[in-house]
Amino acid sequence: MTELTTKTNSGYAKSVLKNTFSQISARIGFYWIAAVALLAIFAPFIANSHPYLMKTTDGISSPLLQHLIPADVIIIVIFITVIVLYFLKKNLAFNVLALLTVLVVSTILSFALIKPPQLVVYEKYREMERNNQLEWVVNAPIPYSAKDYLRDYGETGMEQPLADDKRNHWFGTEQSGADVLSRMIHACRIALGIGFVATGIAMLIGVILGGLMGYFSGIVDMLGMRLVEIFEAIPTLFLLLTFVAFFGSSLYLMMVIIGLTTWPGYARFVRAEYLKLRRMDYVQSAIACGLPLRSILFRHMLPNGIAPVLVAASFGVASAILFEATLSFLGLGLVDNPSWGQMLNQAVQSASFYWWMAFFPGGAIFFTVFAYNLMGESLRDAIDPYLKKKT
């Protein structure tokens, strides 16, 4: 493909983004998501039972750094890369390539080099503190890990926020005794991760299938539409349930499964757009000039048809998060890893209402979904009038 001296899309994409965020609702949504993202990235540094630094008779050590898992490191590396790329201001292809390389390299390196100790005893720091074995210690802002069940305090179970004066649980504790706030922060990763990855997978499948259906019509279209109809006729939740119940509920599996069940919506959009675009004069002209198929599909049609798909994707991320929460709520979600839905599940049990389990995780889900919906709405409003604008 021909290289360009200037970026493509610089006019259109920039002005659409500007329009979207000129609405205050979209900005609020964006700030919230950014906050959640930051929490997700820096989770191990914000809520951790392992102290940052501590000095014992054996010297100064940093248990927190020692106990970082590969995933933590990869995420932070990617974050730094994104910041650097933002300031370098290169074009889209460069950015994507750079990110992918960094991802692959860091994954390999982290898994090879970072090996946190297998056995983790969270209680030992508090015990050491009680036994005055620590000279000084610097703790994380929320000194509880997501899986720290506070065994040293006995069977704690569910407690209201700030119930106990010996330990500060701002949001209370949940069924197994772990701190709710810490679990919520660590659950940010899962929420965002599932949202993006699942939607990404669904978009990929949807765009490819939808594009093929829209461009080629005929048999391809007929078969494709049958497939879409089948997937749409099954209530998504039910299909999800079936998948998860039979295949198990690991995190990555869930992402893939949600992606596999929500692609029909995107396929429909892309197909509709491509059907419209095929009749567009500039596409006809591209065909008349003899441009290769891949250029027509990806350079001429896709950038012009992607707009409604992006709007759908914004709402799709929100619904992916909702799906995961629903599955967890029904008892089919992630078991050990913290998730907002799972905590919500514990709110109403044996006819008691534990309000802090409903408000905080439920509120987190609500605000995140709301934020995505706000951005999606603004994006849709920004795209529509632009399309109708005539010189």
């Binding site: 259109y12 567009m280 004069d281 500039y282 000039c289 003899g290």
Partner: protein, 557 residues
């Protein structure tokens, strides 16, 4: 002299859009007498429609303001029966709208409510203004109104839904609806622009007849001077919200005073012909004599392009839409052949088939001796350099996401023109100059250009591969008259400089007479007449050609 039916004095209509105010109508004054047709002419954006909507008070209240002006309307014939339309409240306006002043619009396709029958919609107009009228009476009046506008079988048609009617019939229904209450003033906003020329002729004839019978006044908005010449009594030329010249139609057309009017009239293809054509034609004829033995560049034999109609659960083909039905045609090199016909006759399909944008069902066509109709898409590729296409709609012919440079360079790269990118850019800039655009514009995006400029870029794109044959599909139909003149001249110059052969598809006869050497008339997929343009237009042989030519509204009768 009797009081004018309607008198517009210093009308100003300002529209608010965001934080900007657009002076859509800026100090417009005119009068219309009873039984008179006043034509308001101008290019797009001149404010003619807004003037009409201001009279009807149909503009949205929250963005409209009238800083000055008065519209005095004689509601009834007694003295003192005049009312001031800008001061009338909405309730009273509603009693006037549809009964004393009626309006018809441009797009008959969308102007009727699709979920009600045409009878119901006409009866509604009657029963709003005469609430005591019974349903039976209203129905009878409706059928009479339909008969008046010459809809056949009005007793059955009255219960039909709009989507079953053709464009021309829908416009007749609109006229019937507007005239049902026998208004004093009919405002017609480009009512025939979207219709075929033969249909337009019938509608215009109908309106004149109705006007005479009911001594109705008409405010006719149009951009077509030919129409004005045919039906107008008085004429006003609008530009940027002002009337720059007005007067009796004959006076203004034969002796325009204002520069703008002169410019507009000069740009009309009929008048262009007088000025430029003689010289060009002479030059061309000289060249032709030298190349007398030139072979046909394009040869079409028995071409058929059928589109199957699939019905039923199993999608089996019940019938075919015969878009191109056994067409044989040949085009000589260096010639401009105009392919003329009304909408749906198949001319666009024929043009597209030549570039294999549509697949021929049967028949053969060849280019410079090479048969193209049976080659696969891959085999056609080398020929795509020589055959190009220019599209009608400037708004959709350029990819909005790519800058002009990319649009122009990509085809060059694919066909191996130019050794490297810089060379290709230089070539692109060269082509831009040939279409009279600043070469630096190639770094811009399509939305930054006007319609006329985009059409020139479309021409530039077709030239980039150095083609020998270009199909021009209604390339000026979406443009204003003055812009159209420029584009036509560019095409003529390019044809001379590069020795191009053009297939010029259009429905506009005056453009054909200006630009083409030969003409082929198409009707329902078949070529009904073919020959030298001057000859065919002066003495048409085929019945359809005669009908077509006589329907064209001319400036000079």
């Amino acid at each position: 002299m009797a009081e004018p039916l309607i008198q517009v004095d210093q009308l100003r209509t300002y529209l608010r859009s965001g934080d900007k105010t657009v002076k859509a109508v800026d100090d417009v004054s005119f009068t219309i007498q009873r039984g008179e047709t006043y034509c308001l002419v101008g290019e797009s954006g001149s404010g003619k429609s807004i003037t009409a909507l201001s009279i009807m008070r149909l503009l949205p209240k929250d963005i409209t303001s009238h800083p000055s002006g008065a519209i005095t309307f004689q509601k009834n014939a007694e003295p003192g029966g005049a009312i001031e339309l800008l001061e009338t409240d909405q309730e009273d306006m509603r009693t006037i709208r549809g009964s004393r002043i009626a309006m018809i619009f441009q797009e008959p396709m969308n102007s009727l409510n699709p979920v009600y029958t045409i009878g119901e919609q006409i009866m509604e107009a009657l029963q709003i203004h005469w609430p005591d009228m019974s349903d039976e009476q209203a129905r009878q009046k409706t059928i009479a109104a339909l008969a008046d506008v010459q809809i056949p079988n009005p007793e059955q048609r009255v219960d039909e839904y709009p989507h079953r009617l053709s464009g021309g019939q829908r416009q007749r229904v609109m006229i019937a609806m507007a005239m049902a209450c026998e208004p004093d003033l009919l405002i017609a906003d480009e009512p025939t622009t979207a219709l075929d020329v033969t249909v337009q002729a019938e509608i215009l004839r109908l309106m004149q007849e109705l006007q005479q019978r009911k001594s109705m006044s008409i405010l006719f908005i149009t951009h077509d001077f030919g129409v004005v010449a045919q039906i107008g009594h008085k004429l006003g030329v609008m530009k940027h919200g002002e009337i720059v010249e007005q007067g009796a139609v004959q006076d203004v057309l034969s002796n325009p005073q204002h520069d703008y009017t002169k410019q507009l009239l000069a740009a009309l293809p009929e008048n262009l012909k007088q000025n430029n054509r003689a010289a060009m034609l002479a030059a061309f004829r000289v060249k032709q004599k030298a190349n007398k033995e030139e072979a046909d560049l394009i040869n079409i034999e028995n071409l058929k392009v059928y589109f199957p109609i699939k019905k039923g659960v199993f999608r089996h083909t019940v019938d075919n839409v015969k878009a191109v039905d056994d067409v044989s045609l040949s085009i000589r090199q260096g010639q401009i052949l105009a392919l003329v016909g009304e909408s749906g006759c198949g001319k666009t399909t024929l043009g597209r088939a030549l570039l294999r944008l549509e697949e021929p069902t049967s028949g053969v066509f060849s280019y410079a001796g090479n048969v193209l109709s049976s080659l696969s898409q891959k085999q056609i590729l080398p020929y795509r350099r020589d055959l190009q296409f220019i599209f009608q709609d400037p708004m959709s012919s350029l990819n909005p996401r790519l800058n002009i440079a990319t649009t122009l360079i990509e085809p060059m790269a694919v066909h191996g023109i130019g050794k490297n990118k810089d060379e290709r850019i230089a070539l692109a800039q060269d082509v831009m100059q040939q279409v009279q655009l600043d070469p630096e514009y190639i770094w811009r995006y399509p939305h930054e250009f006007s319609g006329g400029q985009r059409q020139r870029i479309g021409i530039a794109r077709s030239l980039v591969l150095n083609p020998k044959f270009i199909v021009c599909d209604e390339v000026t139909s979406a443009l204003d008259v003055s812009v159209q003149a420029e584009i036509l001249d560019i095409l003529l110059k390019l044809r001379a400089d590069r020795e191009l052969t053009l297939l010029f598809i259009t429905h506009n006869i005056s453009v054909v007479e200006y630009i083409s050497d030969e003409i082929a008339v198409m009707y329902k997929g078949k070529i009904v007449e073919r020959g030298d343009t001057d000859q065919v237009t002066s003495s048409p042989q085929h019945e359809y050609t005669q009908k077509l030519l006589s329907a064209v509204p001319r400036l000079h009768h």
